[in-house]
Amino acid sequence: MVTEAAVWAALADVKDPEIPPVSVVDMGMVTAVTLSGEGAVRIEMTPTFVGCPALEIIRRDVIQRLTQVDGVFGVEVTFVFDPPWTSERITDQGRQRLASFGIAPPMREATGNLLALNIVPPCPYCGSQDTHMENLFGPTACRSIYYCDSCRQPFEGMKQV
């Protein structure tokens, strides 16, 4: 019989379609795993951004991955807004993996207010604090664009939401 731990382990293999090193578990998107006696799995996920076009891809990938788990017969993925996803939900491992991919992790709510534009993240490439914002908006809804004045590398940063 399938265990909840096995389901979580499989979910850790499902990557963010736009950030391959980071899983949906790292992103804090999975809010509930429910198993029925018959091997039916119900997953609740909370979207990072409401308009994120990757949601249907994520749903498909979760279903594909969990269907391969022994003892699973039927997977249902539901997107919920309770609790709302905030960038505080990204795990420490997720933050490290974002940085390894060249995306500065979002600022912690305790250390920076997004409305203060002069508070910028350190460069994920060289670690310098000598960075500035280039564009509040970036290639995806969840990212901004920054520039490192030390190593002269443009980089992206995950928005604090």
Binding site: F49, V50, D82, P84, L114, F137, A141, K159
Partner: protein, 263 residues
């Protein structure tokens, strides 16, 4: 499940969905035409946010048995649309394909006013008695802060830039202000558990936040936003301009050409 006040809830959801869909479409028309490439990216991203929000509201309508979300977005005639007229106004003369003479000043003014109005409205919606809508509003509110921040920055930049940028911004403010009252109109949504605020309360909250910004950059406060559209139509009651007709014709063209196609 029985939904208390279902007709009111449905009416409100159409206002929310149509507002976001129509302004999101106008935003998307700036792609390739914005003042610089960073702004192209910004407006593409903002448009994507707004269309995503519209989609979420349409899905709530779908769950309430109103029909498929895509059909609601693309097939309803202008007379059934509930967006405020301010949001359907074109970005300027021409179209994005032919001789676009779009007005950045008007866009910044309209966008700032809408974002501020929307933040006031979303705050009200977090107290909506229909929990699924209250939850969606709480989430969307966190995203919309970025839009408001962005357009506040632009507003200050134009106001304190050159004499010409300031003169143009003042013109944009004047044109957007003429339609402002229509944003706050509630159409068929009475104040109550579904929408616990009055038009007057929303106008007051809006004014209290916008007046200090006008004062900061030394632009005279135009006048109190009128409660009812003083000129033109009340979009909340399905009265619209020809500009919405042409917007809908463009937006739904592909959907109508290939019914049932999946993308």
């Amino acid at each position: 499940m029985t939904i208390p006040n279902r007709p009111v809830l449905v009416e409100l959801l159409y206002q929310l969905a149509d507002d976001e869909l129509v302004i999101g479409h106008r935003d998307s028309e700036w792609l390739g035409l914005a003042p610089h490439i960073e702004e192209d990216i910004a407006f593409a991203s903002i448009a994507q946010d707004e269309i995503g929000h519209a989609n979420t509201y349409f899905k709530l309508l779908e769950e309430l048995g109103e029909g498929k979300a895509d059909d609601l977005a693309f097939l309803r005639p202008a007379t059934e649309r509930r967006n405020a007229v301010l949001l359907e106004r074109p970005n300027g003369l021409g179209t994005y394909l032919e001789n676009p003479a779009f007005e950045w000043d008007y866009t910044v003014a309209r966008r700032l006013f809408y974002d501020l109005f929307d933040s006031v409205r979303l705050e009200v919606l977090t107290f909506c008695s229909y929990t699924p809508l209250a939850q969606v509003a709480a989430k969307i509110k966190r995203e919309e802060r970025y839009h408001l921040l962005h357009h506040t920055t632009w507003f200050k930049r134009l106001a304190t830039g050159t004499l010409e940028s300031r003169r143009r911004l003042e013109g944009g403010i004047e044109r957007a202000w003429a339609d402002l009252g229509g944003l706050f109109a509630l159409g068929g949504v009475p104040t109550g558990e579904i929408f616990p605020a009055t038009t007057t309360e929303m106008v007051d909250r809006f004014t209290n936040q916008l007046k200090p910004l006008f004062a900061e950059v030394g632009i005279a406060w135009p006048r109190q936003p009128v409660m009812r559209p003083s000129i033109g139509a009340d979009g909340r009651r399905g009265q619209h301009t020809g500009d919405l007709e042409s917007l809908l014709a463009t937006m739904g063209e592909v959907y109508r050409t290939a019914p049932g196609a999946t993308w």
